[in-house]
Amino acid sequence: MGLKWTDYAEIAEELAPLYPDMDLADIDYEDLTKKIVALPDFEDSEKCPDENLLDAVYSVMTELVYGKETDEVSSIDQD
């Protein structure tokens, strides 16, 4: 069994190196859907059942490309 829509992290890991020039602040669900469906091991419906899953893919891709920032909690405590 290949990737499903719910496999947001695995999808992001496969997409990130394929599209290094993608503007990750820009929401384009149509374009993202096309890119996901075109992944060789993607095996699910052509249409994503939940927009939030596409947001999850964007979010993980952003962390993979720009690096995760874990220490923000220290800054906001007394902001």
């Binding site: 690096g67 995760k68 220490d71 923000e72 220290s74 007394q78 902001d79």
Partner: protein, 540 residues
């Protein structure tokens, strides 16, 4: 038959020194002894990974299946992904979060960041200011407050006995540019229905006067733009405190309009800021459109590393980075020449601004960060937390003494019942300051420590339960130490407050999320299984 009781318990957040790990629990015990729970926030507390090896601390696991979320800062919602891990297999009840749209986006980002399976995401119930709803027999009315993050909320929770408790969340009273903010009339209207207890944010209560608003930062940024003409601007902000991005964009537009020049391009860098930018758009805050409507000027917010950003002339760039405190994020990478998207080696002067003052206790790292930029020949401006600043580039999200007095005054004046004030979210000294302010307003006050509780009977009589000397917290460690494949270990930890000692507790076993296999691994596993079947058949 016993008496019914409404109870409020500080589950975290009222620490003696540090701030964070916010969580408060409401419960109602009816005459038959049946208990209903409702939690407010479930935040994480900073653990200084370098020293402790821990990701963060969490308050104890909430008993409630419903959580009211005041806002999306991690010290209020950072525990949610871990709560989902800790609840796995232990309850069939769904977890429901009652929160604003922007808070939902912040929580969703932290769930994906912790790789929580999509099937296990909680139910999100979108709240609206002034729109009452019912949870487990409690009537809940949200009201909007101003804070550094958009769509922050306070709540009035009414128990089946009619006991009404107001919890403010993190707040200040200055207007905010995105979404609703503090509204005197709305607070007065809600107070008119009666408030028995009022829980008040004390974080900045020791600062005199009102907390500044983003409008003052916008004015300050005009000076920034003026003194940086002909140079490149590199700045940093806290990503989730997203009003600041709007403030920067508006200041850029206003300056261009006033000087008749081309507006600079705002270029964002850092994962959390890029995620926040998408969250804003999802919640209907298209900053470019808003600024165009407000100023008539077309501005552009680009993403670092894209062609659009790279095509902007250096002296037209206004970078906004993450990592104001020098933590491993975009800003320090620029200072150390490790940021692949932003270089200081450019053919024009570089002006560096920190749009956030120093967090107490972090003075050394904050100064060190500024020095790194200076060493690279940049002109720097890092605001001082304790002294008056030449330029206003930062406004706190928490209420100053006058905001606290203002809020207390409105409630005191409008509530037909006597309202008792309980300070929360602050170290002991700051909470004592809130008590002084409320007492000046003629209100009764109570200082409540972590894990102590207030019980109110059906006649409105309150009794206080003192906390045990030991505070129970949960430690979070990533055994993989790899954000791409986190493997969390949870353990209890007791803090012996009177003796200032930490006692390690026990590991908390939890069911791990189902492992996703790659197609090749699946193929190998199937082959292995077939081989095992063949061997077992041969042995028979």
């Amino acid at each position: 038959m016993a008496e019914s009781v409404t109870k409020w318990e500080s589950a975290g957040g009222n620490n003696t020194k540090s701030i964070g790990g916010n969580g408060y629990e409401f419960s109602y015990t009816d005459k038959e002894g049946k208990v209903q729970y409702l939690q407010v926030d479930y935040g994480s507390m900073f653990a200084d990974k370098e020293k402790t090896g821990l990701e963060c601390y969490l308050p104890d696991i909430p008993k409630a299946n419903d959580i009211l979320i005041t806002h999306g800062h991690m010290d209020h919602v950072g525990g949610i992904p871990h709560l989902i891990n800790l609840r796995r297999g232990k309850t069939k009840e769904p977890l429901t979060l009652h929160c604003s749209k922007y808070s939902e986006q912040m929580i969703r980002n932290s769930l994906t960041s912790s790789r929580i399976p999509a099937e296990e995401f909680p139910i999100f119930h979108t709240i609206e200011p002034g729109k009452e709803f019912e949870v487990n027999g409690f009537k809940v009315e949200p009201f909007s407050v101003s804070h550094s993050i958009p769509e922050a909320s306070g709540f009035v929770v009414e128990s089946p006995d009619g006991v009404r408790i107001m919890t403010m969340g993190d707040f200040k009273t200055a207007p905010v540019p995105l979404g609703n903010g503090w509204d005197d009339e709305a607070v007065a209207k809600i107070a008119k229905k009666g408030i028995d207890f009022m829980f008040v944010d004390s974080t900045s209560a020791s600062s005199p006067g009102y907390s500044k608003g983003e409008n003052q930062v916008r004015e300050g940024l005009k000076d920034v733009l003026k003194e940086s003409e002909g140079g490149m601007i590199v700045s940093a902000m806290i990503s989730s405190s997203a009003h600041r991005l709007h403030t920067v964009a508006t200041a850029v537009a206003n300056y261009a309009k006033e000087t008749g020049t081309e507006p600079r391009t705002v270029i964002i860098d850092g994962a959390s800021l890029i995620n926040a930018r998408r969250a804003l758009v999802k919640c209907g805050y298209n900053i470019e459109e808003m600024v165009k409507e407000q100023t008539g000027i077309d501005i552009k917010i680009a993403t670092a590393g894209t062609k659009t950003a790279e095509n902007v002339p250096y002296d037209q760039r206004f970078y906004v980075c993450t990592g104001t405190q020098g933590e491993e994020a975009s800003f320090v990478k620029v200072a150390e020449g490790r940021n692949k998207n932003i270089s200081l080696d450019v053919p024009c002067p570089v002006h560096v601004y920190n749009l956030q003052s120093c967090i107490p206790g972090n003075e050394e790292q904050y100064k060190g960060l500024e020095q790194k930029f200076k060493d690279k020949g940049c002109t720097t401006y890092f605001p001082d937390r304790y002294k008056p600043n030449k330029i206003t580039v930062h406004a706190s999200g928490h209420s100053g003494a006058s905001d606290v007095a203002h809020a207390c005054h409105i409630v005191h004046e409008n509530s037909p019942r006597p309202t008792k004030v309980v300070p929360i979210h602050g170290a002991t000294e700051q909470r004592k300051k809130v008590m002084e302010i409320a007492q000046d307003e003629g209100m009764n006050t109570f200082l409540v420590r972590n894990f102590s509780a207030i019980s109110i009977d059906s006649e409105g009589r309150a009794t206080f339960e003192k906390a045990a000397p030991l505070e129970k917290w949960i430690t979070v460690k990533d055994l993989n130490n790899d954000f791409r494949k986190p493997y969390y270990e949870y353990a209890t930890m007791m803090m012996d407050i009177p003796n200032k000692k930490v006692i390690d507790g026990e590991k908390i076993y939890y069911k791990k999320p189902p492992k996703k296999q790659k197609p090749e691994e699946k193929k190998i596993n199937v082959e292995k299984k077939l081989q095992q079947i063949a061997i077992s058949k041969r042995c028979r």
